[in-house]
């Protein structure tokens, strides 16, 4: 009897110790992203799945409003606080690297050959100096949203397939009152929205040029192609009179109000339009030109911060591996509506032919991403050159020359030229 008790006791105590050591070894890592309802929900779901599979790791999930996200992240990490794993806009990569905020992904867990074969090509912008600095769960591209009711009213059957058709359709979809004021616009240009990407990666290429030099250090949009691209965009407002920049405050608002025939936007806008009562819309791939198609893609990547060391770094790498797994990407697509970063998930027939996500996914095939030094001032280049052409009647060539000069200074400053 005594022996039995003793055995029982030792079993219990060793189990207790074992259990205790697992608890004691439980690593807690922190993950930060910006606040957006569906993204928060998705991460929560993925954390739950991950923690089930990895009982020794807990992931704490914190999020902040988009407006101050970047500032908050930079400050926190640089003062030694902050997360172990952070989500960053791919355009911030250089700033974050420069500021010593993130560290390269360990190559034993994230082999470069695997990355290059598994992910969409645009992810290569995360490779700098021979290392990968982050990986996305999802990517975004642009597509054309169009209002079915307004199209029907104007006698248009399907979406425009070419740039020229787009102009034509826009004209047909525009309505003005007796004073010449817009009641309804054909195409909602919003230079502060996604249209600057449209100009930079799509239009400039359509007209035979490219936005930056191959090494990304010199501006190349200051060319005939760039000017033609800018002219195409400004002509909507200036020549064709199919709308004004920021009509009804933003393109997306005009579209949601049923007052814009077409807008260009990312897949993240789908849920807003789906929720808008009475809005009957469809999505199509961006119109092509001369038989070619281009698109702009962007993404938010997950990176390991310099704060993560030892077992926290290990745990963070593990979680990152899960975040970039096929399973996580499908969850993300279903919850957030953002496109999977791997063709193996994205180009699955069901996803490819999806009425809403399909056009975006198909667009990924021919999409490129701009390597931004600092997105805000570079975005301002297009906003300003657009205003120069429309408000000050400058020629697109002169406008681009002016903004290019300023932006090149920014680039030179960054690259130390």
């Amino acid at each position: 009897m005594k022996n039995f008790k003793f055995i029982l006791l030792s079993i219990f105590s060793s189990l207790f110790l074992l259990f205790g050591s697992i608890i004691a070894n439980a690593v807690e890592i922190e993950y930060w992203q910006y606040t957006y309802k569906s993204r928060v929900a998705a991460i929560d779901k993925l954390i739950a799945n991950f923690q089930n599979e990895n009982p020794g790791i807990t992931v704490k999930h914190t999020n902040f409003p988009y407006a101050d996200y970047r500032k908050k992240v930079s400050i926190a990490i640089s003062s030694g606080d902050g997360p172990d794993l952070v989500q960053l806009y791919y355009g911030w990569l250089n700033d974050f690297r420069d500021g010593g905020l993130i560290q390269p992904l360990p190559q034993d867990i994230f082999s470069h050959s695997d990355i290059e074969s598994d992910f969409f090509k645009m992810v290569s912008s995360m490779k700098v100096d021979g290392e990968y600095w982050g990986l996305p769960t999802a990517v975004r591209s642009l597509a054309l949203f169009y209002n079915n009711d307004l199209f029907k009213e104007a006698g248009l059957s399907g979406p425009p397939e070419t740039l020229d058709q787009m102009v034509d359709y826009a004209k047909k979809l525009t309505k003005t009152d007796s004073n010449g004021d817009y009641l309804q616009i054909g195409f909602g240009v919003d230079t502060d929205g996604q249209d600057h990407h449209f100009w930079r990666e799509v239009l400039v290429r359509h007209f035979g040029g490219q936005p930056y030099s191959d090494d990304g250090q010199k501006i190349a949009y200051n060319s005939a192609a760039g000017a033609q691209a800018l002219k195409y965009l400004t002509d909507f407002e200036k020549t064709h009179k199919t709308g004004s920049n920021g009509f009804m405050n933003r393109g997306q608002d005009a579209f949601a109000a049923g007052k814009a025939g077409m807008v260009l936007d990312g897949s993240f806008r789908i849920s807003k339009f789906n929720k808008t009562e009475g809005l009957n819309f469809s999505i199509s791939e961006l119109p092509g030109h001369n038989g070619k198609r281009y698109n702009f893609s962007s993404f938010w990547a997950n990176a390991i911060t310099t704060k993560a060391e030892g077992e926290k770094k290990e745990a963070a790498a593990k979680f990152l591996k899960y975040l970039t797994s096929d399973e996580a990407m499908q969850v993300w697509l279903d919850t957030v509506g953002e496109l999977p970063a791997k063709p193996s998930v994205a180009l699955v027939e069901a996803n490819k032919q999806h009425p809403q996500y399909g056009p975006f996914i198909r667009g990924l095939d021919y999409a490129t991403a701009t390597t931004f030094i600092s997105e805000k001032p570079q975005r301002q280049s297009l906003i300003d050159s657009y205003d120069m052409v429309v408000l000050k009647d400058m020629s697109p060539e002169d406008a681009l020359a002016k903004v290019a000069k300023k932006e090149q200074e920014l680039l030179d400053d960054f690259f130390g030229n």
Partner: protein
């Protein structure tokens, strides 16, 4: 020993020591929170620094770059425009209203309250409201009202010519209440005897205004000019909120110095350049204040 010391000093010395004790914490405060940061601002203005790395001394380069930047001159001129247009307009309007409102007895409190309420509002909140009013049809009320009388729509915030005035309007609107109340106080402070003497002399309304009221209001007016000039030169809240799609736009036409400082510091993290701009702003404000103080001395 302390007790001996305390008993052997004069009353005056005791009072002096007490005074310094009272002033101790405030002195520490002002030194560390006002004076030291001022020097630090000057110091950083000679550096190149992006907050995360180390500071690199570059002498006057920041200032050179600023003065060579075309946009800076636009922004400086904008800032001055806000003041030299905003101040006279708001003082004129508020004086006229104060003059007539002072004579009203019936409903005086209520009407005065209506004029004053905008002063209590948060600039950001009202900037949103005005931004909405400025929208083109069918959303913006101003344009809707213009269309009723057949005037073509105005771009307001989206126009290079109208942008600055559109942003200035809510700032003027909000400041009127304060100025009106001060003016009324100033008018009422004029001794009744002056008015009675003028009436006996048979002076007309306009004469009384010119020869009695306006001279008596000189210190009040100068006070308001100083305060509102400095206020307009530092304008920020309205611009930030109303031009968020192209900050200070379009094409920098509405951008004041403070917004440029904010952008350099917290958008592009060029803290040396931003500090240099704050020094320039400081010198601008200092010059303006000194000129006005000198004018005030002259009037005495």
């Amino acid at each position: 020993m302390l007790k001996d010391f305390w008993e052997n000093i004069t009353l005056n010395q005791k009072l002096a020591i007490t005074a310094w004790v009272f002033l101790l914490i405030p002195i520490i405060f002002y030194t560390t929170i006002r004076f030291y940061p001022t020097f630090e601002a000057f110091y950083v203005s000679f550096m190149k620094w992006n907050l995360l790395g180390s500071q690199k001394y570059i002498g006057l380069k920041n200032y050179q770059r600023i003065f060579g930047d075309e946009d800076f001159w636009i922004v400086l001129w904008n800032t001055i425009k806000y003041a030299i247009i905003g101040v006279p307009i708001s003082l004129f309007i508020s004086f006229v209203i104060a003059y007539f409102l002072n004579e009203i007895k019936f409903g005086h409190q209520t009407i005065r309250a209506f004029y004053f309420i905008p002063f209590l509002t948060t600039a950001v909140a009202m900037a949103w409201v005005w931004r909405w009013f400025y929208q083109p049809m069918p959303i913006g009320y101003f344009n809707i009202m213009l269309s009723w009388v057949g005037i073509p729509q105005q771009p307001f915030l989206k126009s290079i010519e109208q942008g600055l005035y559109s942003v200035m309007a809510p700032a003027v609107w909000a400041g009127l209440g304060f100025q009106i109340v001060i003016f009324i106080a100033g008018i009422r402070a004029v001794p009744k005897s002056h008015f009675e003497a003028a009436e006996i002399d048979g002076a007309g309304r306009l004469q009384i205004l010119r020869e009695i009221i306006l001279p008596a209001l000189k210190p009040t007016t100068i006070f308001l000019v100083v305060i509102s000039t400095i206020g307009f030169l530092r304008i920020f809240d309205q611009v930030y909120t109303m031009t968020s799609d192209s900050a200070g736009g379009p094409l920098n036409s509405t951008k004041p110095l403070v917004l440029m400082i904010y952008e350099y510091a917290f958008d592009t993290y060029m803290l040396g350049r931003a500090s240099a701009l704050t020094v320039i702003l400081f010198l601008l404000l200092l010059t303006v204040s000194l000129i006005q103080l000198w004018l005030m001395r002259k009037s005495k």
